[in-house]
């Protein structure tokens, strides 16, 4: 609790004790009035002053005014105890609200506790702590075990295990050693690292993420805008309603029905109206829900750029994926050697050597599978056959490595492969020796991710890819994706998404999931763009509305569930608060609900709504 809150708490305790004590005294009339004025002023003086200032500044209808009129009115009618109680409970409610909001502010900033306080820089052999802002690109920083990596860079010395959970929500630590890139915000767990920085602090991952999360709730959702508008009209409406309630019925009774006007009774009902009318419950709980939802999501490694995106995500019914880098790892690996007449090692050796002058991803994956250093002096007479492969002399033997077309060109009979992927056929001295299968591996959670999306009520999953039809169909079948469109150029993907957008119902949203590097136009065209693997990719952070910090597609379903929970709580609060208030207003007008019910309708509803809103923060088990 801060100083302001402590002061209010003291006032609440003093006023409460005095009020209860005076209630037991056998006092009547003027003495009672004087006695009850003490706790009333102790608890309410600031409200009265604020109400006065509001009137002076032509801002009449605020909650201070409502409370001031309601309590002064109650006291004027002789209900001293009610007058003090209303003010007392109002202050308790305000205190609770400010405490709860402060607490969730802190909670969320703890969740995002990735801001490094300092960087260790090495100067003349001594380690010095400096502000990360002052470290220039290319400086050498030292990160000791237990410290956060303050700035993005490359390890130049040391090996360690990094804890990335604050960034990705992933609890399995990752190993890093010399030459590896590290991003800021990771916690160094075991060894001392010397890192050469590649970015300034302001451009580092950690700064970008913090900036994004802190500004996220500035993009307001439709529900938030609705509440702001609602509050603007609602308070004056209730005030005029209360005035009408105080004046009209007594006048009607007096003039048309010939009954006694009973002014006191109707004014009391009007005051009850005023107490119920305070819109605080709504105005505080809706932004709080979104704020907590965004905080909870970022703790799970899902960065949401604004409340409005959370709203859209909750209404997502169609999910469109990119293939490479999203559902697959985007790294090509040798997955098999078939129909080989030579030993596997030898086949890989010939292929790797023959392709050693190429920088194509295929040749890199061959070299990786071979696993030994390549001695290029063994390779001569390299002849690249465009679109087919390569022919070269390895240790004096003629090696042809390439696709089926190359074999046909050379008139070598070959074996078709039944597996899906890129096939490298190999012939040595004109004799077919087998083929190597190279494929992009599926991400470990890809299949589970599609199942989770289906379970979360996604109507249709679609995959778009530039890859060959056979490969795309196989991946889609393996994963259980409903529709697949292959051999698309980047422009075709935008057209495809536009077609899907036009086919669906306006209320059902379409999300596009891509790796953010070459999907930027599609990401921005979809109702909501989700980028994969922000680790290190600035393009992803820029283009997308939602960023999944690790590459795990399983997080898509989780993000949708978080968004749905958040929206559910938002609607619960809207319906609950407005519902209770309307019922109490009706009961109040009929004279059934008294001042105590009114206090519940105001403070009680607010407390419940705030507690409900805080639930959005807990997303672990979603």
């Amino acid at each position: 609790m801060n100083k302001k809150q402590k002061k209010v708490l003291t006032r609440i305790i003093i006023a409460a004790v005095l009020m209860i004590a005076f209630s037991f005294l056998p006092v009547e009339g003027y003495t009672a009035f004087v006695l009850f004025m003490i706790p009333y002023l102790v608890i309410g003086y600031d409200i009265l002053i604020k109400a006065g200032k509001g009137i002076k500044n032509h801002q009449v209808f605020d909650e201070n005014f409502l409370m001031a009129v309601a309590t002064v009115g109650a006291i004027a009618l002789g209900d001293y105890r009610e007058g003090v109680a209303v003010m007392l409970f109002y202050q308790i409610g305000e205190l609770f609200q400010s405490y709860a909001v402060g607490k969730s502010r802190r909670n969320i900033s703890d969740l995002m506790d990735i801001r490094p306080d300092y960087a260790n820089i090495e100067r003349d052999g001594e380690i010095e702590e400096v502000d990360p802002d002052e470290v220039e690109i290319g400086s050498i920083i030292v990160v000791k075990p237990g410290e956060k990596v303050p700035i993005d860079g490359v390890i130049i010395e040391g090996t360690t295990t990094l804890n990335t959970s604050a960034l990705t929500g992933e609890s399995v630590p990752r190993d890093a050693s010399e030459g590896d890139e590290v991003i800021s915000g990771c916690i160094n767990m075991t060894g001392v690292l010397r890192i050469k920085t590649t970015k300034e602090f302001g451009e580092s991952t950690v700064s970008k993420i913090l900036d994004m999360v802190e500004n996220a709730s500035s993009r307001k959702s439709r529900s938030e805008n609705f509440i702001s508008k609602f509050a603007k009209y609602y308070t004056p409406a209730v005030c005029y309603g209360a005035l009408a309630l105080a004046v009209l019925p007594p006048v009607v009774r007096m003039i048309f029905m010939g009954l006694s006007p009973e002014w006191g009774d109707w004014i009391m009902r009007a005051l009850t109206f005023l107490v119920i009318s305070c819109p605080c419950a709504l105005v505080i709980s809706i932004p709080l829900s979104f704020f907590a939802g965004i905080g909870g999501a970022s703790n799970a490694g899902v960065l949401v750029k604004g409340s409005n995106y959370l709203e859209t995500l909750a209404g997502t019914k169609y999910v469109v994926f990119d293939k490479t880098g999203t559902m697959t790892q985007g790294v090509f690996e040798v997955t098999g050697v078939h129909h080989n007449t030579l030993p596997m090692d030898e086949i890989l050796e010939y292929a790797a050597l023959a392709e050693s002058f190429s920088s194509h991803p295929i040749s890199r994956s061959l070299q990786k599978a071979y696993g030994k250093a390549i001695d290029q002096s063994r390779v001569t007479d390299v002849q690249e056959v465009s679109g087919k492969g390569v022919i070269a002399k390895v240790d004096g033997r003629t090696v042809a490595a390439g696709n089926a077309k190359l074999m046909e060109m050379k008139g070598i009979p070959y074996q078709e492969c039944h597996s899906v992927g890129t096939i490298v056929h190999l012939a040595v001295d004109g004799e077919y020796v087998g083929h190597i299968l190279i494929a992009d591996l599926l991400k470990p959670h890809a299949e589970e991710a599609i199942r989770a999306l289906k379970a979360a009520g996604i109507r249709k999953t679609v995959m778009l890819t530039g890859d060959a039809k056979r490969v795309a169909d196989k991946v889609a079948a393996d994963l259980g994706i409903d529709e697949v469109y292959s051999e698309l150029l980047p422009g075709d993907k935008v057209a495809m998404v536009e077609k899907l957008l036009s086919q669906k119902n306006e209320k059902e949203k379409l999300a596009f999931v891509g790796d953010g590097i070459n999907d930027a136009p599609v990401l921005s065209r979809a109702d909501i763009g989700i980028a994969m693997g922000a680790m290190g990719s600035d393009a992803a952070i820029e283009a997308a509305d939602i960023v999944l910090m690790d590459d795990d597609p399983l997080k898509i379903a989780k993000a949708i569930r978080i968004a749905r929970k958040c929206l559910r709580i938002v609607y619960e609060n809207i319906y609950f608060a407005i519902g209770v208030k309307v019922i109490c207003l009706i009961l109040g007008a009929l004279g059934i609900a008294n001042m105590w019910v009114a206090i519940f309708a105001d403070v009680g509803v607010m407390v419940i709504a705030v507690l409900n809103a805080i639930r959005t923060l807990y997303v672990k088990n979603l």
Binding site: G54, Q59, Q97, V101, N215, S218, V283, I284, P287, F291
Partner: protein, 72 residues
Amino acid sequence: MKKTYKIDVDCANCANKMEEAANKTAGVKNAVVNFMTLKMNVEFEEGAAPKEVMQEVLKNCKKVEDDCEIFL
């Protein structure tokens, strides 16, 4: 030009009022008040001097909500 200011205000409705007041101030193109992070993002009109505009913004905010502060 866009700038971000730290603010202090006690209730969400008051933050909404501040936002409205800031948006009505001359020289402000768009202002967004974020109650949860206690920040005000102000986008200024072309050629407006942020310092003077912010003085006006503060004055207008004080008018609608006495108990608020913008840390300029």
